[in-house]
Amino acid sequence: MQNKKLTTLACAAAFAALSGAANAQISGDTVKVGVLTDLSGTYSDLAGAGAVLATQMAIDDFMAEAKPAFKVEMVSADHQNKADIASNKAREWFEREGVDVATELVTTSTALAVMKIAKEMNRVALMSGPASTPITNEQCNDVTVHYTYDTYALANGTARAVTKQGGDTWYFLTADYAFGQALERDSSAVVTANGGKVLGSVRHPFPASDFSSFLLQAQASGAKIIGLANAGADTTNAIKQAAEFGITPKQALAGLLMFISDVHSLGLKNTQGMYLTTGFYWDLNDDTRAWSKRFFEKQNRMPTMVQAGQYSSVLHYLRAVQAIGSDDSAKVMTQMKKTPINDFFAKDGQIREDGRMVHDMYLVQVKKPEESKYPWDYYHVRQVIPAAEAFQPLSESRCPLIKN
C-alpha cells in the first residue's frame, strides 16, 4: 500500500510538472482491468472467453472515443469457479499488479470472495456473471456493482409475467441446497401474489443427473407451469428429460436461471415454448444487433447477457475514470452512480446505493423450431419489464448501506 501511494505521489508530481493536473490521479498512469472468469468450466459458454472479448471491445471502443491520456490494460484469469482460486488471484492482482478493477466474476462464491478483497484493498469490483442477491443485500459494500442481472430479477420477472399470462398453476423442481430453495421461495411468493397457485414442489439432490421420478411427479401434479428452481447442468438435464418424457409442450417449463447459451446448446426442439427472463437479447433493436454482429465476427457466437453486460460495465467504468481524471475507487464509484447508463445494453440504467444496476429486463419465450428464421433467432420478446419493477425494491433491501 505504502509503495502504491509513493508511486501515485511520484506520478502526481511528475505530471503536475509536465502536463498539468488532468490525469494526475491515475495510479501508474494506467488503468488496469482484470477479468476473472470461468474460462474452461460449466460457465465458460455464458461468460468465459466471450467476456474477455467483450472487455477488450470495451477498452478498444473507449480508447477510440475518448482518446484518454492514460493507458488501459487488461489481464484475465480462469478462476475455475473456485472461491479460493478467485480470492488468491484477486489478491495478487490488487497487491502486485496494480489492477484497479476486478470484473465479471461468474459464480456467486467467487464474487463474494473477491468483493471482500476489493473492499479491503479499496478497489472496484464489477460483477456481470454472478446471480445471487446477497451481493447487493447482506454482503453488500460500496465498491461493488452488480451489473447485469440477479436471481430476484430473473425469478420474479418470469414468475410474475407467466402467472399473469395465464400460467397460474405452478409446480417447482428445486435443487436441494440454499440457492435452489431461495429461488423456489422467492418465485412461489410472486406466483401467489399475482393470483396464481403453487401446487407443490419436489426437491432433487444437487447435482443430479436422473430427473425421471421428479419429472413424473411434476407431470402428475397437473400444473400448467413447471418452475425449474435450479441452475447450470441441472437445468439443462431437466429440460432434456422433460422433452424425452413428453411433458413439454403439454406443460410449459419456466427456467428461473437460463441463458441464451443454454438454449443454443439444448436446441429449440427441447426448449420451445419456455419462458425466461433476460437482461439482454441480441436481436432487440439495431443497436444490439450492430454490437452483437461485431461480437459474433470474433467469437462465432452471439453474446449472452453476461457478455453484453460485461462490455457495458467496463465502458461505464472507464468513462467515469475519464470524466473525473482519477482511478480512486470512492470517486469513481460516486461518478458511476451519478451517471445514467445509456448504451446498446441499457437505456437509462442506474447504479443504486446498494450497488445494484437497474435497467429494463425482458420476458422472452423460446421460439418453435419452425419459427426460427436465421441462426440464433431464438426468442419472442413477450414483455419489457421496466427497471422499476424488474429488480428488488430498495425498501426490501437487507444491505447495511441502505437505511430504511
Binding site: 474460462l39 474452461s40 468450466g41 484475465s76 484469469a77 480462469d78 475455475q80 473456485k82 472461491a83 479460493d84 482460486i85 480470492s87 488468491n88 488471484k89 489478491r91 495478487e92 497487491e95 502486485r96 456467486t108 462464491s109 463474494l112 470472495a113 471482500k116 478483497i117 479491503e120 445471487s132 446477497p134 454482503q139 436441494d176 441446497y177 440454499a178 440457492f179 444437487f206
Partner: protein, 316 residues
C-alpha cells in the same frame, strides 16, 4: 532404511537451512503464494504420517481440512475470538472428527478402509452443503484475519506469513517427533507386517487410531490456517477432489519421506497457480498425466528419488 546415518547427520543442517529460507522467503516471493504452499504442505505432511508411516490410505482427509476451516471461520467471524483460538478450535474439532472416523474405519484395511473414510467424508460434504451456517455453495465468506493474541494485526501479509510459518513449523515438528519416536517405530512395524506386530503384543488398533487422530488434527490445523489466509472456507476444501489432491502431493513429493509432502505440495500448488492462467481446467488433465508419469517412472517421488541418488553416490 539402514543407510540413514548420513541423512541423520545432515538432517539438522538441512532443516536449519530450510528454516532460514522460510524466514527470508516472503521478501523474495509473493507471501500469499508461500502461505498457500505451507498450508497444503502441512496438510500433505499430516496425510503422509498416516499413509507413509502407518500404511493407511485415507480417502477422506478433505473432511478434516474443510471442517477445521469452517469451524475456525465461524469462530473468528461469528463468535469473534482471536485467530489463534480459531486455529486451536478448528484443530480440536478436526481431531474429534478424526477420532470418529478412525474408530469406524480402522476396523477394516486396504480398499475398505479407504472407502469408509471416503463415505464418511462425503457425509461431511453433504452436511456442509446443506447446513445454513456454512453458507452452502457460497462458502463461508468474509472471515476477518483479526489480531493475533489481540495485538498483532494480521491483515498485513508479512505478519500473516510468519504466523502460518510458525504453525507449519509446529505441525512439522510434531510430525517429525512422532515419526522418530518409539511410537513411530511401531507404526512402521505395523505398516511392514501387521500380524507380526500383533504377535509381538502390540494393540495395533490403538496405535492406528492414535495415528489417525494426530493426522486428522494436523490436517485440521492446516485447514484452519488456510481459512485465515484466504479469509474464506469453501466447498472445495471438503470435496473429495481435495482428498485426491493430497494423495497426489504426497506421492509426487515422496511417500514416507519427511520433506517429500512439502515438496510435493509446493510443486502441485505452483503448477496450479502458474497453469491456471494459461490452460484453465486442463490443469486437472496435466496433473493426471504427471501422476501417471510419477507412478510409472519415479515411484519414490521427488524427494525419495533424490535420497536414493545421494545414497547410491555415497556408496560409491
Amino acid at each position: 532404511m539402514n543407510n540413514n546415518s548420513m541423512f541423520a547427520r545432515a538432517t539438522p543442517y538441512l532443516f536449519g537451512a530450510l528454516f532460514v529460507i522460510g524466514l527470508i522467503a516472503p521478501f523474495a516471493v509473493y507471501p500469499t503464494f508461500l502461505m498457500k504452499i505451507l498450508c497444503f504442505g502441512l496438510f500433505a505432511c499430516a496425510f503422509n504420517l498416516l499413509l507413509g508411516f502407518a500404511g493407511l490410505l485415507s480417502f477422506g482427509h478433505a473432511a478434516f481440512l474443510g471442517t477445521a476451516g469452517y469451524v475456525c471461520g465461524m469462530l473468528v467471524r461469528d463468535v469473534g475470538v482471536t485467530p489463534e483460538i480459531g486455529i486451536i478450535g478448528g484443530t480440536v474439532v478436526a481431531g474429534l472428527l478424526g477420532w470418529v472416523f478412525g474408530v469406524l474405519a480402522i476396523r477394516r484395511t486396504g480398499i475398505y478402509f479407504a472407502m469408509i473414510t471416503l463415505a464418511l467424508s462425503q457425509m461431511v460434504y453433504f452436511l456442509v452443503l446443506q447446513v445454513k451456517a456454512t453458507g452452502g455453495e457460497d462458502g463461508l465468506q468474509g472471515v476477518p484475519r483479526g489480531n493475533l493474541f489481540g495485538i498483532i494485526d494480521l491483515s498485513n501479509n508479512i505478519s500473516m506469513y510468519y504466523l502460518v510459518f510458525a504453525v507449519f513449523c509446529i505441525g512439522f515438528f510434531i510430525i517429525y517427533r512422532t515419526i522418530n519416536s518409539p511410537f513411530g517405530e511401531i507404526l512402521k512395524a505395523i505398516r511392514e507386517n501387521e500380524p507380526r506386530a500383533i504377535s509381538l503384543g502390540y494393540d495395533v488398533a490403538k496405535f492406528k487410531l492414535l495415528a489417525f487422530i494426530i493426522s486428522a488434527s494436523l490436517a485440521g490445523m492446516a485447514g484452519a490456517t488456510k481459512t485465515l489466509v484466504f479469509q474464506l472456507a469453501s466447498l472445495t476444501d471438503v470435496h473429495w477432489h481435495m482428498s485426491g489432491e493430497v494423495v497426489l502431493m504426497t506421492l509426487l513429493g515422496g511417500l514416507g519421506t519427511v520433506l517429500g509432502p512439502l515438496i510435493g505440495a509446493a510443486t502441485v500448488v505452483s503448477l496450479q497457480t502458474q497453469l491456471a492462467d494459461s490452460v484453465g481446467s486442463w490443469v486437472t488433465v496435466i496433473m493426471g498425466v504427471i501422476f501417471v508419469l510419477c507412478v510409472l517412472l519415479f515411484r519414490r517421488g521427488i524427494v525419495g528419488e533424490l535420497q536414493a541418488l545421494i545414497q547410491r553416490a555415497g556408496i560409491r
